[in-house]
């Protein structure tokens, strides 16, 4: 075990996998000479050379397809998007090509590649640079969608992603890169997809979340504890596949659920979760599922407006109180 930053954990995962398997390579803007826009890949070009740690031009569609082609004939590329917002220019390659290659060819080849990078708001980066992309990629068969909220998860999940034969959307959070935590140095410690992690056990209410939202949820849980409310906080980690068993187990215990996403509505992960829970545990619920989500607007720049647009611990606490109080009718969710 070692104490390291989230970014270092990601780097360790890539370095170890690149040492283990010379088919693994990294490509993206600034990953090489600059050592990564957010210093995730620091030192990797020095260690592995320019071909395995490739600085690309700003051409996300081009290099995503390039990674796909390379993966179809045996490489295992990792594509770094400087942020996931920029993946949208490569959306067609990801959704129409990467996700479908194995099926359309009936397995003549696959696309063993990882697409990774940071997403999310909170740094005043404004509308085009602050988005959460999980729902856009969740809604496409052929892709895994995975998030990590801690350094340990970042390392273990990224290693799993690199070793998997299917394409993986790996979502980091810009606001987590500096966070520190204990990380195993076992080079074969893989955290499997589809396994949620109970980050805090509780009995009164289930809070479902992932990525950076874990922290306001944990904070809310701590504060609620003082009011004798025992909240269970579950970090879903991988969103597709989803650990429905873990969710239902908790719901059967608490009968009250709050889902918390930075992602917005509609057709987002929050509604997906609440809908699924209703479908599978209709009779277990003592109150409607509360949804706490990012405001459904392009992210504004002004600090105060941005803060209003991103859920915080207070919003989580209010939602917990609402679900435990169980009011009759809820406020309209659609504006």
């Amino acid at each position: 075990m070692a104490l390291m930053q989230y970014r270092e954990a990601l780097r360790a995962a890539m370095r170890e996998e690149m040492e283990r398997d010379d088919r693994v390579c990294l490509m993206g803007e600034e990953v090489g000479g600059y050592n990564g826009a957010y210093r995730i890949s620091e030192g990797l070009m020095d260690q592995f050379g320019r071909m395995r740690v490739l600085d690309t031009p700003i051409a996300e569609e081009g290099f995503t397809g390039m990674a796909l082609g390379a993966s179809m004939v045996g490489l295992r590329p990792i594509v770094e998007y400087m942020t996931w917002n920029f993946s949208l220019v490569a959306y067609d390659q990801i959704v129409n090509h990467v996700a479908k290659a194995r099926y359309m060819s009936n397995g003549q080849f696959g696309a063993p590649m990882v697409m990774r990078g940071p997403q999310g708001g909170g740094q005043q980066l404004t509308a085009q640079h602050s988005q959460c992309v999980e729902s856009w990629y969740l809604h496409c068969p052929g892709l895994y969608v995975v998030t990590a909220a801690t350094p340990a998860d970042a390392k273990g999940l990224l290693k799993t992603a690199i070793r998997d034969d299917n394409p993986v959307i790996f979502l980091e959070h810009l606001g987590l890169y500096n966070m520190k935590g204990e990380v195993s140095d076992d080079r074969d410690l893989l955290i499997p997809f589809g396994v949620a992690d109970v980050k805090r056990a509780g009995t009164d209410v289930t809070i479902l979340t992932y990525s950076k939202m874990l922290y306001p949820c944990l904070q809310a849980a701590e504060e609620l504890d003082k009011d004798e409310v025992s909240a269970e906080v579950i970090d879903l980690r991988s969103l597709r596949p989803l650990d429905l068993d873990a969710i239902l187990t908790s719901v059967r215990k608490t009968h009250h659920v709050v889902v918390v996403t930075e992602d917005w509505q509609p057709s987002g992960m929050a509604r997906e979760l609440s809908g699924l829970i209703y479908q599978h545990a209709f009779d277990e619920l003592d109150a409607p599922v509360e949804e706490v989500c990012g405001a459904p607007i392009p992210m504004p720049y002004a600090k105060n407006l941005e803060q209003m647009a991103i859920p915080d611990a207070d919003a989580v606490k209010s939602a917990v109180r609402r679900t435990l109080a169980r009011p009759g009718e809820l406020a309209p969710l659609y504006r």
Binding site: M51, G69, S105, N106
Partner: protein, 331 residues
């Protein structure tokens, strides 16, 4: 427009006699295969879109005959029936794919637009215009990464040149010195839209200027010109110099089986048909004493039989089973 084949060029045949007969057989196979496909389409045995390559055979056959079999990579768009045949794929599983059968090359999941024969290096078969081009540079990148001297040939339509993926890929290939030959098959039409409405330049190979990439046109109806051009381009690509070739050619049929092609005159089509590469090659083989009338007839019969057999194979093959629905994809 590229120079038409001169007398002299026609004399300097870039193939050995055996090779030439082999190319002839393949071009004839492709022609007959697609005639059969057209027929099957009108009988509703083939559904969806069905895009025929008829007329363009010299271009595809010429380029692919410059490659090393089972080693180099080829990728194209949805007009993809002929390429795998040129690469030696047996016609039965290809036809079965068009019929949506379990025995198809893609198990019936791909259909006409998504043929693949990966073990022979044929990487498809893609339907989004321009979508195959970034993938193509990835094939070339993998070869370079592994120090394998494989070349990739990527076919691109004149209508696909305007899309962003083309530009991004040319630039990446140029920066990375990838072993790739981009072949724009300029058949004058993007669906029903003439070149002047799709491309700001009439000389599509000129795109190469912006990337420091060697570029030139070739008469895509002239098999020998194509082969010479391809030999040169493939050799240069293998040495790490990406190439951009504009192969000027023509499709006789509509864009797909659903298009009657009424945006062009009969005369325009007729003019190109007069240079039909399959007929021309038959004439050449006879004229130069490479094949007798009888031998040509024999090849014709063989090919006809083979295509008939392919259709029968496709016809008699079973549909994919329901259990196939969720196979080969992570859902």
């Amino acid at each position: 427009m590229a120079e038409p084949a001169t007398e002299e060029a026609a004399v300097a045949c870039p193939y050995s006699n055996d090779e030439l007969v082999d190319v002839y057989r393949k071009m004839l196979e492709a022609r007959r295969f697609e005639e059969r496909s057209a027929q099957a389409y009108t009988q509703a045995k083939i559904g969806g879109y069905c895009h025929l390559y008829i007329g363009q055979e010299a271009s595809g056959a010429g380029f692919l005959s410059a490659l090393r079999p089972n080693w180099d990579y080829v990728i194209t768009a949805y007009r993809d029936h002929a390429a795998p045949l040129f690469m030696g794929s047996p016609p039965g599983p290809l036809m079965a794919e068009l019929f949506g059968k379990a025995t198809g090359v893609s198990g019936g999941k791909g259909g006409s637009m998504h043929l693949y024969d990966a073990k022979r290096g044929f990487m498809g078969g893609w339907g989004i215009v321009g979508g195959q081009i970034p993938i193509a540079i990835g094939l070339a990148f993998a070869a370079k990464y592994r120090n394998e001297d494989r070349v990739t040939i990527c076919f691109i339509g004149d209508g696909a040149a305007p899309i962003g993926a083309f530009h991004e890929s040319l630039n990446l290939a140029g920066i990375l010195d990838l072993p790739i030959v981009f072949v724009i098959e300029n058949n004058a039409w993007a669906m029903g839209t003439a070149l002047k409405y799709t491309n700001s330049t009439p000389d599509l190979h000129m795109y190469g200027e912006g990337y420091n990439i060697e570029h030139r046109p070739v008469d895509g109806m002239d098999l020998f010109a194509v082969k010479r051009c391809a030999d040169d381009a493939v050799a240069k690509a293998r040495a790490g110099k990406p190439q951009l070739i504009e192969s000027i050619t023509y499709r006789y049929r509509g864009h797909s089986m659903a298009d009657a092609g009424q945006y062009r005159t009969k005369e325009e089509v007729q003019e190109w048909r007069e240079r039909d590469p399959v007929e021309w090659l038959a004439g050449y083989l006879k004229e130069h004493g490479i094949l007798t009338e009888d031998e040509l007839g024999q090849i014709n019969d063989d090919v006809r039989e083979a295509m008939k057999a392919a259709v029968e194979f496709a016809d008699q093959s079973p549909l994919p089973g329901a259990e196939e629905l969720y196979k080969n994809v992570y859902v």
